[in-house]
Amino acid sequence: MYLLREYTFPLLLAVTLHGAAVFALYSGWNPEQTRENIIQPRAVVANLLVLEPKAQAKPKPPPPKPAVQQQPKPAPAPAKPKPDPQIAERKRAEEAAKRAAEEAQREKARKEAERQERLARLSELAQTSLDEAIAQEDAALQAGTEEMVAQSYRLGIYELVRQNWSRPPSARNGMSAKLLVELIPTGELVAVSIVESSGNAAFDRSAEQAVRQARRFEVPEDNGVFERHFRQFYFLFQPEDLLR
């Protein structure tokens, strides 16, 4: 009885305390998350650059920008040319005055007609440019979803290559090597070549090796998307987490 009276409350307190500690650990402690953010920098930033289909020509194409860059821009309406108000009349003779007045009348009518016509043409132009803009926007929207699909596959490829890449000890910050990767629709690698060397042979080799080791990439089923984005693409290798 004495024991019960003397120890129940302390035991309750102790258990509560430990429960609170466990709860605090459970709810507020996510060590891995913060550690992942701080200690694990990305080992490589490899950007996939899309090669435009027309740029498959012989000479190595200049590094194209990542896709989605053309924004629909409605064509600006042409400035309305101001007609020179040329209503200069010559008062040379009295008889001419009458004719001139007549002529002025005619001129006025002609100008009015001209103005009407120009107005009509302008509004037509505005209409067509609006249609064009809508069409362009639609296309861009479609291209946007396609770009999203391509981007997700790109991330997969990036991750695969990143895992395979073992940097040589001679790698330094600021180095970058650009590789041209060619695939076939099954995702298999057919060719990889160095487009821009980093200046360090070992680095270049390691980058090439990383791509070759993957051998097969996940690519979209859609043939059109594949052709546009994954038939040929550039891979940029940059070590970013080095301390030096």
Partner: protein
């Protein structure tokens, strides 16, 4: 990379021995906290009782009456026990008659010493347990950690490619044991130091009181002997 490892997953994935060590440490921690709370309340109450008792004792009350009040009481606290056992011995010996003043005083002192020893033991209950937890649980935790790391390195030996990712979870889960050991030990050590200091302070007051009582009883015994 799998999802973030929570500390509970680490514990669940630990080997059996490490889990046992952890369970032991959690138990030690719970029990030592229980002791800490119990001692804390107990010692605080004892201090308040000493204050109240001394106030009462020195208020000029008649000692015989005071003794009569206390004697029938069941749950006497520390300093009251000292007083009652000393005074009881005194009344018994002096009522018996025939004993001289020095013999009475010797008896009284002995009785009070016994009471003091008993009170000291009562105050110090559980403190050895806290000391034990405080000094050994880091070692127990360390044992769990060493065992866990040993295993994680041993499994590393079988791998063809050693990566940090293959040892890190094992080491992490092993280190949880050390953390638990420290978690149990630190409050226990602090509690032990604090409570033993407080017990010492209380014992000083008990002893001082027993000396004062001895003086009073000594005076009484000798004046009585002079009367006879």
């Amino acid at each position: 990379m799998p999802e973030q490892l929570s500390i509970f997953e680490l514990i669940a994935n630990a080997s059996l021995l490490v889990q046992l060590v952890m369970a032991l440490l959690v138990l030690a921690s719970v029990v030592s906290w229980m002791m800490i709370f119990q001692r804390w309340f107990f010692l605080r109450r004892s201090l308040a009782e000493v204050d109240a008792f001394e106030d009462h004792f020195w208020s000029g009350i008649d000692l015989r009456k005071f003794y009569g009040e206390l004697e029938g009481d069941e749950g006497l606290n520390g300093i009251e026990n000292v007083f009652v056992s000393g005074f009881r011995e005194f009344t018994r010996l002096s009522d018996q008659g025939g004993a001289d003043a020095d013999a009475i005083m010797q008896g009284v002192q002995r009785a009070m010493r016994v009471a003091l020893t008993r009170e000291e033991a009562r105050l110090e209950t559980h403190l050895p347990f806290l000391a034990t937890v405080g000094s050994t649980s880091p070692y127990v935790g360390l044992f769990g950690t060493v065992w866990g790391i040993m295993n994680s390195f041993r499994s590393l030996a079988n791998m063809s490619q050693a990566t940090l990712a293959s040892v890190a979870p094992g080491i992490s889960e092993a280190l949880v044991a050390t953390a638990m050991g420290l978690f149990a030990a630190i409050p226990a050590v602090i509690g032990y130091n604090r409570f033993s200091a407080r017990v010492e302070g209380l014992m000083k007051r008990y002893e001082a009181f027993s000396d004062e009582l001895t003086t009073i009883l000594h005076r009484a015994a000798h004046s009585k002997a002079a009367e006879d």
